[in-house]
């Protein structure tokens, strides 16, 4: 067994990989071992994995329903106890159950924003960087204009026009969060643009669209992913802020920001109603921040420790 593991390691860390697959796996292994050495990054990874598990098995984990009201005479605003770990809210609902189900909403927001904003930024950045000239000037001007906007206030205005709701909140956040990805993708593209292999592909007759899509974008993906991970916490906080202002998920949805807003009315006497969802937001955001820091250090050793 140990012998097996040792040969595997030797194969992965080999200085002279025999195949492209071996080289690729070897690189991934090197990045992983750098990442695994970072205890905080591993803690972040653990938090995010836990979040994924909780969201996946929410129905099994949550002891009560997240949305049906409890007994309003006996189950309202109960303090934390063995029966209700984090107490109950003003509708007699178990707060722990709502937090567990709320993890799905958080994941939904984060993933959807990333899926919308990152490809848009990647496309704009690579096209601008590869095309150069006036295309670059126009696209980057637009990017700069969006970068100079106040994100939260703009998202507020968007949601005000679109109407409150979780999907509109996601759209509003996505619209305001693509510019940094475009900047990063463009910077990477500029360094790749005159590489020999791009010239070779061009000589073989590849169209600009093919070059950008097949030969430049894949190389920009890793830095964009790092940035997206670092932005996840910000996305969660913005979504929670919108929820807190009543513009995100609508009741009785167990969105964490909205839960804080409803707990606000009882904060002086029943503090746990507002406290628990805040802690949940904090832990998940912290997880994404730690993971993002770790990924950056592992994938880009030059920036490590800064």
């Amino acid at each position: 067994m140990t012998n097996d593991a040792q040969t595997w390691r030797a194969w992965l860390t080999s200085e002279r990989p025999a195949s492209r697959r071996q080289a690729r796996l070897g690189r991934a292994y090197a990045a992983w071992s750098r990442f695994a050495d970072n205890r905080l990054a591993m803690a972040g990874l653990f938090i995010i994995l836990a979040l994924l598990l909780v969201a996946a098995f929410a129905d099994v984990i949550a002891p009560y329903s997240a949305v049906t009201d409890g007994d309003l005479r006996t189950a309202r605003l109960l303090a934390p106890s063995a029966e209700h770990w984090f107490g109950t809210d003003d509708q007699g609902r178990d707060i722990f159950a709502r937090l567990v189900h709320g993890s799905r909403i958080t994941l939904f927001v984060v993933i959807l924003v990333a899926v919308i904003a990152a490809p848009v930024g990647l496309l704009i950045g690579t096209v601008a960087g590869y095309a150069g000239g006036w295309v670059d000037a126009v696209l980057m001007r637009i990017t700069d204009i969006f970068l100079a906007f106040p994100r939260l206030v703009l998202a507020l205005a968007f949601v005000a026009a679109l109407g409150p709701g979780i999907v509109n909140a996601v759209i509003a956040i996505a619209i305001t969060s693509w510019p940094p990805y475009a900047r990063i993708a463009r910077a990477e593209t500029l360094t790749l643009r005159h590489a020999d292999y791009i010239s070779a592909v061009r000589l073989m007759g590849a169209s600009p669209a093919r070059i950008v899509a097949r030969h430049i974008m894949p190389l920009c993906v890793s830095s964009v992913i790092v940035r997206v991970t670092l932005d996840m916490a910000g996305i969660i906080l913005t979504a929670a802020g919108l929820g807190f202002l009543g513009l995100g998920a609508q009741p009785p949805s167990p969105e964490w920001g909205a839960m804080i807003a409803s707990g606000r009315r009882f904060v002086l006497d029943q503090w746990w109603v507002a406290a628990a969802p805040g802690v949940a937001i904090f832990i998940v955001s912290l997880g994404f921040n730690l993971l993002g820091d770790g990924l950056r250090d592992a994938l880009d050793p030059k920036a490590a420790g800064q």
Binding site: A148, P150, L154, L237, F244, L247, V267, W271, G278
Partner: protein, 355 residues
């Protein structure tokens, strides 16, 4: 020889002047374009997204003659590009329409509430900069020490905790339980009508009028939300200071200064920090802009009658004119600070000034 030399110097000076003029012109174009972009986005939000912009502005409970009048005032029968021109023209003169909620012109409302936000954000940035810069410097100097870890934790928490939740918990602890500070709001009702508003910055107004009791009351209201914003500002500033200082301390001039026998304190505070200050100024300006924006959530928690609360109150009442007017004002300040920090960077950094 000397003549030729001075002629060349004159030519160089002219060339430099011309390049400065070019830089200023380019800067102004960027300002204009960015501002136009902001107006385009708010126009899009206010007039294009809503199915019926009139209803979005006057609300669905408005009587029909009001709806008709507003439709005419907005010029909704005109083509979209003409509407946009009119919109830009009005916005440039500070005309954002009338608020449904207060039935004042939006600009009048904003002028009334803005000083409260300014007071809060300024004190917050001040706290953040005064604590954040030294912390960041010390963390960089004693890299890996306990203090460095503390700065790291402050940063991580600052980037991960929802500001409105922390505000709520701070109110619970420091106001409700400990009674160390005053509660939500800006000033107690008792003092509200004894202070004549001059600047709108209540700390200044009360101090100028010698009303020290009211001053203490105002300070008691202000200190908690300002500390909260200050914490977030500090998290950002200390982290950036640390990173700038690490870069500076690795430079050769630091080695040279050490070789000359300069004291460590002089090297750090006089030489390295001075160079790090250039990018730091832009960081502090950006943090100020972020606080102005971040006050939207903080003001809601603390019932602070500033621009942020004005925007969210208008949002709850579907008062689109007020929301967009507030957005444009926050956006303008944000853009202004962004570009100002860019400009400051160029002015302060000798390397970008040289050519």
């Amino acid at each position: 020889m000397a003549l030729a030399g001075s002629a060349r110097a004159g030519g160089r000076r002219r060339a430099r002047l011309r390049s400065t003029a070019m830089a200023i012109a380019r800067f102004l174009v960027v300002v204009a374009l960015t501002y136009l972009g902001l107006l385009a986005v708010t126009f899009f939000i206010g007039r294009v997204i809503p199915v019926d912009p009139v209803l979005a502005i006057v609300g669905d409970r408005a009587p029909s003659h009001v709806v008709e009048r507003v439709r005419e005032e907005l010029g909704l029968n005109l083509p979209l590009y003409q509407q946009f021109f009119i919109y830009v023209g009005k916005a440039l003169t500070g005309d954002f329409g009338t608020s449904v909620l207060t039935s004042n012109p939006v600009m009048t409302d904003i002028r009334r509430v803005f000083p409260a936000t300014l007071e809060l954000a300024t004190l917050g940035t001040l706290i953040g900069a005064v604590l954040g810069v030294p912390l960041g410097v010390l963390a960089a100097v004693r890299r890996g020490s306990f203090l460095d870890q503390v700065v790291r934790v402050i940063g991580l928490v600052g980037y991960s905790v929802p500001i409105f939740w922390l505000g709520l918990m701070a109110l619970l602890v420091f106001y409700a339980r400990l009674g160390w500070v005053e509660g939500p709001g800006r000033i107690d009702v008792v003092y509200e009508y004894t202070v004549t508003p001059v600047t709108g910055i209540l700390l200044l107004d009360t101090a100028m009028q010698g009303q020290w009791e009211a001053f203490r009351n105002v300070f008691g209201h202000l200190i908690l939300p300002a500390s909260l914003l200050g914490y977030f500002s500090m998290a950002y500033i200390s982290r950036m200071t640390r990173s700038f200082m690490l870069t500076e301390l690795g430079q050769e001039y630091v080695v040279a200064a050490r070789a000359k026998g300069l004291s460590e304190g002089k090297i750090i505070w006089r030489h390295a920090l001075r160079n790090a200050l250039v990018p730091l100024v832009t960081v502090i300006a950006l943090s100020y802009a972020t606080l102005l924006e971040g006050s939207v959530l903080t003001e809601t928690v603390f019932s602070w009658p500033g621009l942020g609360l004005y925007i969210t109150d208008s949002l709850q009442n579907a008062d689109m004119n007020a929301v967009l007017g507030g957005t444009i004002v926050v956006g303008s300040v944000f853009i202004g600070l962004n570009l100002l920090s860019d400009l400051l960077y160029r002015v302060l950094d000798p390397r970008t000034r040289a050519r």
